[in-house]
Assembly symmetry: C2
Homo-oligomer: 360 residues x 2
Amino acid sequence: MSFPLAPGATIGILGGGQLGRMLAMAAARIGFDVVILTPETNSPAARVAAGAIVAAYDDVTALDALADRCQVITCEFENVPARALAHLEQRGAMVAPDSKAFALAQDRLAEKTFLNEAGLPTVGFAQIDSEDELHAALARFGAPLLLKTRRGGYDGKGQVWVRSADDASPAFETIGRRPAIAETPADFVRECAVIAARARDGQTAFYPLTRSEHEAGILRRTLAPAEAAPATLAAAGEAARRLLEALGYVGVLGLELFERANGSLLVNEFAPRVHNTGHWTLDGCVVDQFEQHIRAVAGWPLGPTDAIARVEMLNLIGEDVGRWSEWVSDRSARLWLYGKAEARAGRKMGHVNLVSPLAS
Amino acid sequence: MSFPLAPGATIGILGGGQLGRMLAMAAARIGFDVVILTPETNSPAARVAAGAIVAAYDDVTALDALADRCQVITCEFENVPARALAHLEQRGAMVAPDSKAFALAQDRLAEKTFLNEAGLPTVGFAQIDSEDELHAALARFGAPLLLKTRRGGYDGKGQVWVRSADDASPAFETIGRRPAIAETPADFVRECAVIAARARDGQTAFYPLTRSEHEAGILRRTLAPAEAAPATLAAAGEAARRLLEALGYVGVLGLELFERANGSLLVNEFAPRVHNTGHWTLDGCVVDQFEQHIRAVAGWPLGPTDAIARVEMLNLIGEDVGRWSEWVSDRSARLWLYGKAEARAGRKMGHVNLVSPLAS
């Protein structure tokens, strides 16, 4: 295998959702073929890909078949088992980002420990494997604490607030008495995110800061480029750069941040993949996060990350998608739908980018 | 069948080349599935589509299978036999644009006759079915004349100049003594094009005028929005509007124009499909020609056609594609590659859009 991959090469993607769909379209635009591996039949990504393998992520035969067809393999789903990626690496497949980034991102305790070691500040946290440890954490940090399972859970699932010592037992019960982490509250005034990229040669690039708004733990809206103090913008870029270097990362990652009242930042978490807070780049940048990720994993130079437009991104969640016909009539709206048949509550069905000129 | 089609519907495309590839990606972006019918295995379009039928365009069984899977059928290839489309129409399939537009566009004599009847000026022309008729045309118009087969030929193929009466016999021989048309020279100073769209409800929309530059009969470069006198811009829009109305057209079409020294326009030809001179819209407009075509055939309202950027489009022809790595490093360049394995001379392998701010 030699990089850069020439157009005509085949890229494997683990995961078949909307992120894989948009990655596959970006890859096709610059001349690559894509093969999707996902347990889902007729997945959103497979319907725009040259090939698909329907199998469990840890199906070794399927993984080997994917490796045989692809010059590089990447992921659109952060919960692909790290051991599946490790298997691919052990048989000599090129995997980017690597299994280590996934192993860290899949374990909230390992992730926050790694972030702190890399010099990225987070909320206070403690490992919780028993009610006793939760009581000890309450004694150390005070209430409230947010108790989260170390693994699994997303969009606000698998977590519960512990507001007093009396809550400790039911809270630990609520999360199934699983290995957990207790976190101090983030005293933030705003949430934001940085989409960061690192190439195979170590080149790094950062998109402008994105302001994020969540409801019920689900991202509803982003604004980009976000206004912030110069020191805050610099700190966000520096945090992303440190993380990319510490991971030896190749590809795009999403770094979620809390902005405190004094403008300083705490890292919430990172996702070793393209990220919902980067969907604005599809219509706000010459090279969007999806093409950027494909460029990075293919060993191409990174593209420019400057904003060429201001974008308000609205997620279409569940029944929101039924309003497609309204968005189609909005002259500033670019509609992205994910091809999901069933508009279940909380399911990300598409998004709209509302595009306007950059303030001069 | 009721329009507008909701996301989740399936759109059939006849033809598997780069135009189908970009149509399929645009359709997917707004939530449609695509099935490609083409005689080519592993075609550029099929590799980004939910389904593909590999069959000849006039294979009735294949056409019927396509109609069974799709709520509307369109074309990316202007030489799809009009009778294939007529077959689909007769069995009740929704076909847009319709077989009539293709029948006209496939016969240069019928096309120019239709254009003149619709009030669109063209060069002088005469039907040529024999050497005698060619001599009569030379007597009527004088030399030189451009002799073209009525059907087939593209990118400068199937045509020959007749510079004197002595040329008549060898010229008619050169084009295989086939039914032909003789055209007077177009005394143009510039070539340009309008990408026009008409919705199912009769709404029309026109992208800004594009300047076109050909070499050896192949489009090499476009500039958009093109500068031109207000009267010229108005005439281009009016010509496109008349053509759409005369055809009762649904979808996007490309109208190629000659601009004369006095700013007046002659129609060269129209293509009943998305068009190479509209590739700039991919990076210069909120809704590009591909999404616009999908919107029109799906019964959606048309999107805005204003330019939001200035775009220089360069076709990557044959070995040009080998320079992909240079374009990737150009910060203003957006690269579109078509996934064609073999870089044959004259073959359109991709294009680059060089994006810059609109002059204010």
